[in-house]
Amino acid sequence: MTGVETRIYVAVGEQPLDMAGIAARVAHPGAGSIATFAGTVRDNHAGKPVAYLEYEAYGPMASRTLSRIAEEAATTWELLGVAVEHRVGRLEIGETSVGLAIASAHRGESFAALRFMIDELKDRVPIWKRETGPDGSFWIEGPELIKAAPADNDPS
């Protein structure tokens, strides 16, 4: 446990992400560093064009796991604020799927915590993405692309 109170904000939802708003959540008069990461939808994957992505979450468990990851980061580094939002539903090229912002007195902490949190998020948080391009739709499972059903209108 570090001696700093860390403000933590977590959200999973369908609304477009606003990185400035996410960063604003961690503003603090003692902060000398605010590091952010935005995961954005690329127009290609494994050398093939991508038309759009669909993200699906186990919502309550995703939020709970994100909160736990934020708390782990706050226990490891002296952080003043952590904000993380993940979007679900259909996302177009260039849109932001995940946004993180971390504030700390010195940059070392926010950089290390940012890296930790996005790595843990990708490893543990129950969220899935399905990629659609000219060859159809695919579930992304690590390095693998797995053919998905042609139409899937029930990402719960």
Partner: protein
């Protein structure tokens, strides 16, 4: 005892629906739930090696003891971010 099961992503697609309710005789485990579902869906049964399981929104073991009213989720490899 009754548990709610939830399926996501490829597991949901394989089973054909995102959730179900199962009646089980105690003692029961997530593995028992899965066997019931897989018996109804060969596509789902093939996914077993890649699935993790969660009970009440926490990662759990396939052999954990379930209680009446638990929510059991089958979790394909995650790909958020």
């Amino acid at each position: 005892m009754q548990v709610r099961v939830r399926l996501f992503a490829r597991a949901r697609e394989a089973y054909g629906r995102p959730d179900d309710v199962l009646d089980l005789s105690a003692p029961a485990t997530p593995a028992d739930c899965y066997d019931l579902l897989a018996g109804r869906s060969p596509a789902l049964s093939r996914l077993r090696p890649s699935l993790l399981v969660a009970v009440n929104e926490e990662y759990a073991a396939w052999s954990d003891a379930l209680r009446d009213g638990d929510e059991v989720a089958f979790i394909p490899p995650v790909s958020g971010g």
